[in-house]
């Protein structure tokens, strides 16, 4: 909303937010580990453990990045994660032959939720906060009501996703890395990515440029839901069986938004990317691990985390010209 016509902007080359944030997070982690004498946490397995803390939130947050970039938001991811985890464990019932059908069914559910969210936002014109809060509540309710009939556990073989690894690197990290790279590639190098930035940056302009903005918004919502689904599947593998509360207890909705914004993606859309988001996720993981090493009491931890969320966003938001609400 800045329109000072004569603005002359001197642009000093700055480190990207993502690099800075990732550096700070790792620095924090290393300093805490050294100062508390927990040097074992700096061993490869300690560091892998740190990264492992990123997987669940990281997957959701990548999807959240897509919707925020396109100028929308998704509050239904937490409920969807629970739904997917429950559905996966229910369909598998420990039977490895049901792995594929379960995955397909889960992703089908995500596809449907994404389409509904996207349709409500893009075609229904409903404020995305309300639309996705609503669908989230619907999913949560149906899930809790039918959970009695939806017990089950994933197949042992499926848990390899969360516990197995290749040359010491967990598959889950490989998955996160691969999906991150894929997401970054999509945003940076593909037509779809370019359209997302266009629609988020200037919806009217994008429409006039011939972009079918509704389709792009819809697709972004589908991507977000699918990533939430990936996170749900990962959690199902890690937790063996899903409960209707894992998404809510993990606060994946608000936390995924927080890390995305911390990573420099602006809520208005059109600016940001996956790298920043992952750096934000790394910050949260480092805080978790660091606070553990420091033995900070759970409640105080929450106080600090709240303050850090604000501070981390303030660092780049404070330069914003104009108004923010």
């Amino acid at each position: 909303m800045t329109t000072d016509i004569t603005r002359i902007t001197p642009r000093a080359p700055r480190l990207p937010v993502s690099v800075l944030l990732a550096g700070l997070s790792l620095g924090f982690y290393i300093i805490i580990a050294l100062s508390t004498g927990e040097t074992a946490q700096l061993s490869p397995s300690g560091i892998l453990g740190l990264f492992q803390r990123m997987v669940a939130l990281g997957l959701v947050a990548i999807g959240q990045t897509f919707v925020i970039l396109v100028g929308s938001i998704d509050l239904s991811v937490a409920a969807l994660i629970s739904a997917v985890a429950v559905l996966a464990s229910h369909v598998m019932q420990g039977d490895p032959t049901m792995m594929l059908p379960a995955i397909v069914l889960c992703l089908g559910l995500c596809l449907m939720v994404g389409l509904i969210n996207g349709a409500l936002v893009a075609y229904g014109g409903i404020n995305p906060l309300i639309a996705t809060l609503g669908t989230g509540l619907v999913i949560q309710g149906v899930l809790a009501a039918s959970f009695g009939m939806l017990q089950g556990a994933v197949a042992r073989e499926f848990q390899v996703l969360a516990y197995g690894g290749l040359l010491g690197v967990p598959y889950s990290l490989v998955l996160l890395a691969a999906l991150s790279l894929a997401a970054a590639f999509v945003l940076d190098r593909t037509l779809f990515g370019a359209r997302i930035y266009a629609v988020g940056g200037n919806p009217d302009g994008a429409r006039l440029a011939g972009i079918r903005t509704e389709q792009v918004i819809l697709s972004a919502h589908v991507v977000a839901s699918l990533f939430a689904g990936a996170s749900g599947l990962y959690l199902a593998a890690r937790l063996q069986s899903g409960t209707p509360w894992i998404g809510r207890d993990g606060i994946y909705d608000l936390e995924s938004i927080a890390v995305t914004v911390i990573g420099g993606t602006i809520l208005a859309g059109g600016k940001g990317g996956v790298a920043g988001t992952l750096a934000g996720v790394l910050l949260f993981a480092s805080l978790d691990a660091g606070f553990n090493m420091l033995g900070i009491d759970a409640f105080l931890k929450q106080v600090l985390r709240g303050a850090i969320v604000i501070a981390a966003v303030a660092v780049h938001a404070v330069r914003t010209k104009g108004h923010v609400a």
């Binding site: 509904i116 999913i139 890690r238």
Partner: protein
């Protein structure tokens, strides 16, 4: 659109559902716990946290370790008052063993399974721990992490179990059926056939709570007592009170209130007070506020418990294991007493905060009562 959402989701979720529901109504387990309630515990008199039911013991010589040791505790979280009291018990018990204990490392998973798994992995790979105590957030989820930890060091699990026998021992009181049996039988004994009972529960789908309800429900059904409603309160006092008010407003006579946890029992009773009705028969738990109200308003009540002293037992067990002593196992079943009219006066302690759990077994621990938020 939204109607379709709902329908579609329901359909998708129930699709392929062969209704293989997890069974919270296991007659064998019900029977076993009923027997355990009647057993005489073994072990030191007057110290229920050190007692056990049944015979089994496990040998722990291979874990013996001399000198000062470090205990690590992966806590599911402190998201309710029960766990707050319990954590205080655990810390206080650790303080009793300063000569043997170098350090007690506590990490809190904030109620997140995923975080607790990472926490356990980090504790194990950190290499500082001589023994690991785990209070799992959920049973199935923590199983692989606990299994992995068992390979490296002795593990003691309490409260919720894990689906593996690898821990040295699993400490728990009699259990959910026991809780439901105690409270259900008391209410059934006070009511006539055809009387109404309102069941107030915290949330659905949680194993330790579902079993309490199923046990009580069985007993009510047997006794011909109507369960006029089973409502979830989310441990929220305002919601509890509102739910009860709604039932009162419907004009149905409520003869008894059964609760699967007592933390909002006084809120439920207030609804009767505000409506100018006599108190119903009620089953609560061992919280101070409930006990005080029971005492002052002469309620017909019972306080079954899921004792918090098991948090003490975890530390005792861990140190015994590192001493190479035999410990009860593979399950260490603690007695699960209930507070009845006869013993009520022994448990009321005006110094303690309202949601203090009286069966904490903590009166003799260092720092009592301030450590538990009580007044001197």
């Amino acid at each position: 659109m939204t109607f379709r959402t709902l329908m579609a989701t329901t359909v998708a979720l129930t699709f392929a559902s062969q209704a293989l529901a997890q069974d919270f109504n296991d007659p064998a387990e019900f029977k076993k716990q009923r027997e355990q309630l009647a057993m005489t515990p073994q072990g030191p008199e007057g110290q229920p946290w050190a007692q056990h039911l049944g015979e089994g013991m496990v040998d722990t010589v291979k874990y013996k370790k001399d000198g000062q040791v470090t205990l690590c505790f992966s806590n599911a979280g402190v998201f309710n008052p029960w766990r707050v009291v319990g954590l205080n018990n655990l810390n206080a018990e650790a303080d009793l063993h300063k000569d043997r204990l170098k350090e007690l490392i506590v990490v809190d998973a904030e109620g997140k399974d995923d975080k607790q798994i990472s926490d356990i992995e980090a504790l194990v790979s950190g290499g500082k721990c001589d023994a690991l105590i785990v209070s799992p957030n959920t049973t199935a989820a923590l199983t692989p992490a606990v299994e992995a930890a068992c390979d490296k060091l002795p593990v003691i699990v309490f409260d919720r179990g894990v689906n593996t026998s690898c821990p040295v021992t699993y400490i728990h009181p009699v259990g959910g059926y026991g809780f439901g049996i105690t409270s259900g039988e008391f209410i059934a004994g006070k009511l006539k056939k055809g009387d109404n009972v309102l069941a107030l529960r915290i949330m659905p789908g949680v194993d330790v709570l579902e079993t309490r309800y199923s046990a009580a429900k069985n007993i009510f059904d047997e006794a011909g007592i109507n369960v006029i409603g089973s409502e979830f309160t989310g441990s929220d006092r305002a919601k509890t009170k509102s739910v009860v008010e709604d039932y009162i407003n419907r004009g149905v006579k409520i003869d008894a209130v059964w609760m699967d946890a007592g933390d909002t029992a006084t809120a439920a009773l207030e609804a009767f007070e505000d409506a100018g009705l006599p108190y119903p028969v009620i089953s609560g738990e061992d919280q101070q506020d409930f006990l005080r109200k029971w005492q002052s308003d002469k309620l017909t009540a019972i306080g079954p418990s899921y004792p918090t002293y098991q948090w003490r037992t975890a530390v005792i067990a861990a140190l015994d294991v590192l001493d190479g002593k035999q410990v009860p196992g593979p399950e260490w079943v603690l007695p699960q007493p209930a507070i009845t009219q006869d013993v009520l006066a022994d448990y009321v302690d005006e110094r303690m905060p309202p949601l203090h759990y009286s069966l904490c077994g903590c009166q003799d621990l260092p720092g009592y009562p301030e450590r538990w938020g009580g007044k001197k």
